[in-house]
Amino acid sequence: MISLNVNGKNYRVNVSDDMPLLWVLRDYLKLTGTKYGCGIGECGACTVHIDGKAERSCAIPVKEAQGRKIVTIEGLPENHPVKRAWIEEQVVQCGYCQPGVIMQVSALLSKSPNPDADKIISAMDDVICRCGTHARIKRGIKTAVQIMRKEGKRI
């Protein structure tokens, strides 16, 4: 039995220790917002927050996630500045990679609420989007920063 804390809820699941966290989230907890893209931590579609850090859930065996605080795209509040900015800037195309992108961005902005261009690029360089939304991801980040600043919010 594995015990997990996901989006503030405690779960107990009967899976083998070495199953990647991604598949436990998707197939056992039915949190399918987190996506499979490569299985080797290269594309970022499976990004979740573990203890506040952006991590690739496809490359983490579930046993290593025990006792840690996991947040998925579903656990990010609806009025989260990044989610709002993504709608405002119409960033999304097919949308498959975007949960991971949004989790990567929100982790970045919680650490650096006003990142410069270099910081944005280094945080986002290992996230793949095949539709080519990169230019809008940059715009979305700027808008999220503005929303946070205007509302005096830290995330």
């Binding site: 899976v15 083998s16 199953m19 990647p20 598949w23 998707r26 197939d27 039915k30 949190l31 399918t32 917002g33 987190t34 996506k35 499979y36 893209g37 490569c38 299985g39 080797i40 290269e42 594309c43 579609a45 998925t72 795209i73 579903e74 609806e78 989610k83 993504w86 709608i87 119409q90 999304v92 195309q93 097919c94 949308g95 498959y96 990679c97 975007q98 949960p99 949004i102 944005i120 690029i121 280094s122 986002m124 360089d125 290992d126 996230v127 793949i128 989007c129 095949r130 539709c131 080519g132 939304t133 990169h134 230019a135 809008r136 991801i137 940059k138």
Partner: protein, 731 residues
């Protein structure tokens, strides 16, 4: 009785339901209730919408939403003419049905940038018919002249008396009216939604992480299947350990099938462990010597073999003999993978004389057809449920994954989801076809093109789609961008004025499967044409823009996008040392695009950094400028990815590339500033999903030439290739 799924669903409608039947020959509108008691002979609705008493407008479309915004765009057209309130609108995927065929392709297939242009006129008429019927219903309710009733944002208003009724209240009465034959359309100045950047309807659920893609489908009792597939082309299994695989905890069954050996299990994790335990030994396949070197030699070597004549206009041989200047060059474009972010997958459930298929597909009818063939059930017993697509890029029009899921479910007697790992998705992709080209062209003393002779070798795309189409030896999809074909609605040839033109084509005998990849071979062909035109401009001693304008003098639309892109990019302004500026244009799917690239080349490392791309697009009337811009940005980005980085690696008779660690695609640090200018145009509406792709690669190559003097006739422009070209240019 030949009752189709869409007709049955259509007839179940309760409110005011208007459908459009579009064929390549025209279209017809229909009110569901006026025909309910009849058999609707011959009427085949492609798209329909229903206004219900709860004041909602539900729109059903046959086109697949893969991020291009088709659900939003088609709904905007209906909602505008209907004068619906945007808040009332709900859009969904329809089932597989002949009725959903796009008139441009005569198939229910979301390809070729065709959804909006295929349905624009009929959907406007359908919306206008609904608006007229609702106004008429209100007029009779109030007993006032129709001319005093005006539809406005989901209501009909009688200004004189201050009365107003919602569409929900009017729909049942309106449903009893006859559909007007030729309802008046709005004037463009009255458009409420068309032409405005309306936010996409599917974005909120995608941002929340609750949109259902194919991999997210869950059916009670479902098993997961993965396939062990041959590592080399034509390889057959010599042995495998079925017992060991079936002994793995959670594995239920091993199913040998023509495309590989399936392992079914309760979870993906167990299925993958079972696949490892199979320990399949494969033979060497049909082409054990095949690797990248073999492929390039084969394609270029085949340029010396005779092909089939595609076009012969004038006497190109004679013209080349008389030319003031002659240029000859050989180009090569490698195989690239689709690598959509959502790997291929499909869920199927075959039981009790029916088959359900949940699938992210670009081609519902072909999915239904193959599911019917494999299950042995008639097509009307196969229900296709289209999910959101984690991008399509053309890959999802091929139904191989549907075949696999139906085989597995049929054998297992349970619902099965077939999941392709990323490694399978890359290795077993039907790639964008590699090509070789050899061209000779000549110009006169004025810099005018007088002769052009062109030989192309490519794998056949049509071979797996419609083998009969290549009986003459010509694969027209491979030639898109080089030559128009009878019945082709597009200006999709070499658009330059060339009085003497000869094009010859040969299908390559390589065993590597290929398929359409965003813009099909317009991408590779435009890379070749537009790079070579730059070579000719250089030979003529002319500015690349000026040379193009001169030789495109009879093509106003091409000239206009070139001029606008050039002006916006500051063409003609000096370029700093180490930097370069290049231009290219191409037209396909009825749309013209030009792009200007500014880039820097590191002459020590050969690294190319694209700084800015300015694009101008003429696609005729625009429905949603936000999605048009997004499509051009996306097209430019994926085209840059293929121009700078992508090439499938092969070894030992099969594919070596496997995942994003060895099949590199473009990253955030490589993304230039992208500027898109939509040209105001009253021309016939064109497509927008793909025409942004073709000009990017040649514009980059032309900019590299401008920066370094080195002409590179092969993509991708990797640092090693650029450095080698700079070095050989200096010696």
């Amino acid at each position: 009785m030949n009752t189709s799924i869409s007709r049955r669903a259509f007839l179940k409608a309760t409110g005011l339901t208007i459908a459009v039947s579009v064929t390549p020959f025209g279209y017809e509108l229909l009110n569901a209730s006026e025909k309910k008691k009849e058999a609707l002979p011959g009427f085949k609705p492609n798209v329909w919408f229903e206004i219900t008493p709860d004041n909602r407008v539900a729109i059903t479309v046959g086109a697949s939403e893969m991020g291009q915004g088709v659900h939003t765009a088609l709904a905007m057209i209906i909602a505008d003419e209907l004068e619906a309130d945007w808040k009332q609108i709900k859009v969904g995927h329809g089932p597989a049905a002949k009725e959903f065929k796009n008139p441009i392709w005569d198939d229910q297939i979301t390809v070729g940038s065709a959804s909006v242009r295929g349905f624009y006129d009929p959907l406007r008429k359908a919306g206008a018919a609904g608006r007229a019927m609702l106004a008429k219903a209100a007029a009779s309710t109030w007993n006032v002249p129709e001319s005093e009733c005006k539809a406005e944002k989901g209501t009909v208003q009688h200004k004189k008396s201050g009365r107003s009724l919602t569409y929900g209240k009017l729909c049942l009465k309106a449903a009893k009216l006859e559909i007007p034959k030729d309802p008046p359309l709005k004037k463009e100045s009255e458009f409420r939604y068309i032409g405005k950047p309306i936010p996409r309807v599917d974005i909120p659920e995608k941002v929340r992480g609750v949109a259902t893609f194919g991999l997210d489908v869950a059916v009670p009792n479902m098993e997961i299947a993965v396939f062990s597939r041959p590592p080399a082309y034509g390889a057959k299994p010599i042995s495998f350990d079925q017992k060991a695989a079936e002994g793995v905890k959670g594995v239920s069954k091993v199913i040998p099938a023509p495309m590989g050996i399936a392992v079914c299990a309760e979870s993906l994790h167990a299925a993958l462990k079972g696949r490892d335990a199979l320990n399949v030994k494969w033979d060497k396949g049909t082409h054990p010597q095949l690797d990248n070197d073999f492929i390039e030699k084969s394609l270029i070597g085949n340029l010396d073999k005779p092909g089939v004549k595609v076009i012969e206009k004038g006497d190109s041989k004679k013209a080349l003999g008389e030319a003031k200047k002659k240029v000859e060059a050989t180009y090569f474009v490698p195989f690239v993978a689709h690598a959509t972010m959502e790997p291929m997958n499909c869920t199927a459930y075959v039981r009790d004389g029916r088959c359900d298929v949940w699938v992210p597909t670009q081609g519902q009818l072909v999915a239904q057809l193959v599911a019917s063939q494999v299950s042995g059930l008639p097509p009307e017993k196969v229900q296709i449920h289209t999910t959101f697509l984690g991008s399509g890029l053309g890959r999802r029009a091929t139904p191989d994954f549907v075949v696999e899921a139906v085989i597995a479910s049929k054998v297992l007697g349970k619902p099965v989801k077939v999941v392709w790992t990323r490694e399978e998705d890359i290795k077993y992709d039907p790639f964008r076809a590699a090509m070789s080209h050899r061209i000779q062209a000549g110009i006169d003393d004025q810099g005018r093109l007088i002769g052009w002779s062109h030989k192309v070798v490519s794998g056949s795309i049509m071979k797996d789609i419609d083998p009969k189409a290549i009986e003459s030896g010509i694969d027209f999809m491979s030639l898109w961008g080089l030559a128009d074909f009878p019945g082709s609605p597009h200006d999709n040839r070499i658009m330059y004025d060339i009085p003497n033109l000869y094009i010859e084509f040969l299908i390559s005998d390589l065993p590597i499967p290929v398929s359409p990849w965003r813009s099909v071979q317009n991408g590779p062909n435009a890379f070749v044409i537009e790079s070579f035109v730059d070579e000719l401009a250089h030979a003529a001693g002319k500015d690349p823009l000026e040379f193009r304008l001169q030789n495109l003098r009879n093509n106003m639309r091409a000239c206009r996008v070139l001029e606008i892109a050039a002006k916006k990019a500051g063409w003609g302004k000096p370029v700093p040392k180490g930097q370069g500026r290049g231009i290219a244009q191409h037209s396909c799917f009825g749309t013209y695009v030009a792009q200007v690239v500014d880039l820097s080349v590191n002459e020590k490392s050969g690294a190319v950094k694209v700084d800015r791309i300015v694009a101008a697009i003429d696609c005729g009337p625009v429905v949603n400028p936000n999605t048009v811009k997004a499509q051009i940005e996306g097209s430019i980005t994926i085209a840059l990815s293929s121009a700078l980085k992508e090439e499938v690696k092969f070894s030992n008779g099969g594919v070596k590339s496997a995942n994003f660690d060895d099949y590199k695609v473009i990253k955030m640090s490589e993304i230039p500033e992208i500027e898109v200018h939509i040209v105001e145009s009253k021309e016939k509406m064109g497509g927008v999903g793909e025409p942004g792709v073709p000009p990017a690669a040649p514009a980059v190559g032309n900019a590299i030439f401008n920066a370094t003097g080195a002409r590179i006739r092969r993509i991708p422009f990797t640092p090693e290739r650029v450095l080698a070209a700079i070095k050989s240019n200096k010696t």
